[in-house]
């Protein structure tokens, strides 16, 4: 089983969090899978990691519609963080709105982090692809 250090799941829907968790556990070996109910909580934790000089996660699963700080708000904050590490950001959403897809495309040009757009439900194959870090 492939080993991954740290994965974030940022989503306010417990079922989605449960689902991603379950798929990950069946496919990869990861000690630190953390989930956050909104963007604010996730970015707060990232800031804490930076302060403590700890490593950023390898993969982030990010929902768009969340209270307090949504996925876009999180992305805006996250790409400002000075780091050389490349974090795989997966926007996982039930939105099929073209403007959301376009918005995720436009974020790509502002950051070195790879960003991909995935429609819910997320499949086993997509998780395999995402976790295939090189």
């Amino acid at each position: 089983m492939r080993k991954i250090n740290s994965i974030f799941i940022v989503d306010d829907d417990p079922i989605t969090v449960f689902g991603i968790n379950k798929l990950l556990k069946s496919l990869v070996e990861c000690e630190n899978i953390s989930d956050f109910q909104n963007g604010q909580k996730a970015i707060d934790y990232v800031q804490k990691l930076l302060l403590e000089n700890k490593e950023l996660p390898d993969i982030i699963f990010l929902d768009i519609n969340m209270p307090i700080m949504d996925g876009w708000g999180f992305l805006e904050e996250f790409i400002k963080i000075p780091t050389t590490k490349s974090v795989k950001i997966n926007i996982v959403t039930s939105s099929i709105d073209q403007s959301d897809k376009d918005k995720s495309e436009s974020f790509k040009s502002f950051t070195h982090h790879p960003i991909i757009f995935i429609s819910k439900p997320i499949s086993k194959e997509e998780i395999i692809e995402i976790t295939n870090l090189d």
Binding site: D13, P14, I15, T16, F18, G19, K22, Q37, N38, N65, P67, I68, S94, S95, I96, D97, S119, K120, P121, I122
Partner: protein, 616 residues
């Protein structure tokens, strides 16, 4: 030789002949002439006898010479006419009669030449011919014919022109009665009969414009005049002159009907039309223009200029325009102008001025056409508003559609994922957990559908269901309903709404909006601070504004202002928060043609303003 001729004896006889006569010998030399000849050819100052006749009178026509030569041979010749230009260059017509001159022995010794000046006669003949020609042409061109009625003999005669007009054979003979019958029965025939009778009785001339019906059944208009006819001062009957004026009358009718059509058009077209002379004085104004100028009679505007109608400044502006158009001879087309009315409204016009030119290209005035576009302007404004409203509605609908699709999709995505897990899951405890999640998901879906249905109902509710509601009464009712919640939180509610304030609302919406906003104030109260909620009333433009102010935790409007009334937007970590309350409130106030906004400051409080539209 001369003295030997028998002529000499008759010398005096010849001299006195009443006609211009010359006797010549076979060498064309004059032997003798009558005094008349001398006079005719103006030879009194010259030697005549023994002169060559042609030299003498300057005649050189071939026919004349041939006739002389024939006479010398003893042959008779026909008289003939010839024009002749005398030595003093006067042209005359002469009739020549040339005869052989015999002596006693019946042998030809020369010719007797007689000349008769027929210039006056020829000239009369030519004149007559000319007059006849002119008459014929005039009659043909002018379609004029005549008839004569000899009363004593009861004979009616008409010229071919008349017969043509009546479409009968050219040589047909009519009686007077038959002729009269061609006139249309009634007014026409009576008028002609009366006129003819009057001419016979009173010897009066007359002139009438009448209608005839031809033999072929065509209608013709004629101008017929008659006058008594006299012969050597004695009355003998009547002569009638008839002119076919059908074409003229038809054209006249056409012109009249065109004129009528034009007048009807000008007076009923919804444009102001006027004609001004070079002094900008009105020569014509149609009904719209009269209405516009507030004048009821066209006669009252003729000869007036804009200074008589408008204030000085405006009139000067119009006069300047007139001058520019007339001097440059260039039309001014669709210039937009506005005119303020005494009641404060503004009318908008499109004004055109077109120069009028005389036959020599000089400006004679202008024709003005003004269109009132105030209604169009108003409609344009209404249309813009409508477009704005519908594009907002459209945006709202699209947004709503996205929300629905998002929500339904997120549930179906969960179902799909959970079911997949269930298929592969062997562990019973885990299976139960997944079943539990499926049930929750299903319940959530049902709730979502109910909510969406509620929102659709709000948006489709007609504003005609509005009722008058006393605001204080409704607030009181809501507070009573919320009492347990208020007491539990030690909340104070201050209502500063003037007594008797009433609003046109859908009562259930007002109730829900108050419950939602006041309970939000409680929900987002500051910990350890007693909630204070204040309701107050103000008026902004056409709206009655109900403001609900609290001392709660407030909200960062910069961050969340746009999303505050959005669907499924929550801004605090609160388990009850679903992000629907204010979204529904917004939909309800908008369904009543009102609007909503908010002011908020973190740690100070929030004010929600409900704008009630009292107009409709």
């Amino acid at each position: 030789m001369f003295s030997n001729t028998p002529i000499s004896a008759n010398h005096f006889l010849i001299k006195q002949l009443p006609q211009a006569t010359a006797f010549i010998d076979k060498n064309f030399k004059v032997v003798f002439v009558s005094d008349k000849w001398v006079e005719e050819f103006n030879l009194s100052t010259r030697d005549i006898i023994n002169e060559h006749i042609q030299d003498l009178v300057g005649i050189s026509s071939k026919q004349w010479e041939n006739n002389i030569l024939r006479c010398f041979k003893g042959k008779r010749t026909e008289n003939f006419q010839e024009n002749y230009t005398s030595i003093d260059r006067e042209t005359r017509w002469l009739k020549w009669n040339i005869l052989p001159w015999y002596n006693e022995n019946e042998s030809v010794i020369g010719a007797i030449v007689q000349a008769e000046d027929i210039t006056a006669q020829i000239s009369k003949e030519q004149k007559l011919e000319q007059v006849q020609f002119i008459l014929k042409e005039t009659n043909e061109i002018g379609k004029i014919g005549h008839w004569k009625y000899n009363q004593s003999q009861d004979i009616f005669s008409s010229c071919p022109m008349i017969n043509n007009l009546l479409e009968i054979e050219e040589d047909s003979k009519l009686t007077l009665d038959e002729y009269i019958e061609f006139y249309k029965i009634g007014y026409n025939r009576n008028t002609l009969s009366m006129a003819i009778f009057s001419a016979m009785e009173n010897k009066q001339s007359w002139n009438e414009k009448l209608e005839v019906l031809t033999a072929k059944g065509n209608q013709r208009w004629v101008n017929v005049s008659g006058k008594p006819l006299y012969c050597n001062g004695k009355y003998i009957g009547i002569i009638g002159i008839v002119q076919d004026i059908t074409d003229y009358v038809i054209k006249e009718h056409q012109t009249k009907s065109n004129e009528h059509l034009l007048k009807t058009l000008i007076n009923n077209i919804p444009l102001h039309i006027y004609i001004k002379d070079t002094q900008s004085k009105k020569l014509l104004a149609n009904r719209s223009e009269l209405d516009h100028c507030g004048i009821s009679n066209e006669a009252d505007i003729i000869g007036k200029d804009d200074f008589d109608i408008y204030d000085k400044e405006l009139a000067q502006k119009y006069r300047d325009e007139d001058l520019e158009v007339m001097i440059s001879q260039t039309p001014m087309i669709n210039k937009e102008l506005s005119q303020e009315n005494s009641d404060g409204t503004t009318n908008y016009f499109l004004s055109s001025k077109i120069p009028l030119k005389g036959p020599n290209g000089e400006t004679t005035g202008l024709v003005g056409i003004t269109m009132d576009i105030s209604d169009i302007k108003q409609k344009e404004k209404d249309l813009r508003n409508l477009i704005k409203v519908s594009s907002e509605q459209n945006k709202k609908l699209l947004n709503f559609a996205h929300i629905i699709s998002h929500n339904l999709r997120s549930h179906s995505a969960n179902f799909s994922m959970l079911l997949e897990f269930l298929i592969e899951e062997k562990e019973e405890a885990e299976r139960q957990k997944i079943f539990g999640m499926l049930t929750d998901s299903s319940n959530n879906l049902m709730e979502t559908l109910h909510t969406l249905n509620d929102i659709v109902t709000i948006n489709s509710e007609s504003t005609t269901n509005k009722k008058e509601v006393y605001l204080n009464k409704q607030v009181h009712k809501t507070l009573k309903h919320l009492n347990p919640l208020l007491e539990e939180n030690n909340a104070t509610v201050i209502t500063a709404i003037p007594l008797g304030t009433s609003l046109q609302v859908i009562p259930s919406y007002l109730d829900n909006m108050l419950i939602q906003i006041i309970s939000n104030s409680i929900k987002y109260k500051k910990p350890n601070v007693r909630p204070e909620i204040k309701l107050s009333l103000s008026y902004v433009q056409n709206y009655t504004v109900l403001s609900i102010e609290d001392n709660g935790i407030g909200l960062d409007m910069k961050k969340y202002g746009e999303k505050l009334f959005g669907m499924y937007k929550t801004f605090h970590e609160h388990n009850d928060a679903k992000g629907l309350g204010l979204y529904i409130v917004k939909n309800q106030i908008e369904a009543m043609n009102g609007k909503i906004n908010a002011q908020s400051q973190v740690n100070v409080g929030t004010t929600i303003n409900l704008y009630f539209n009292e107009e409709n």
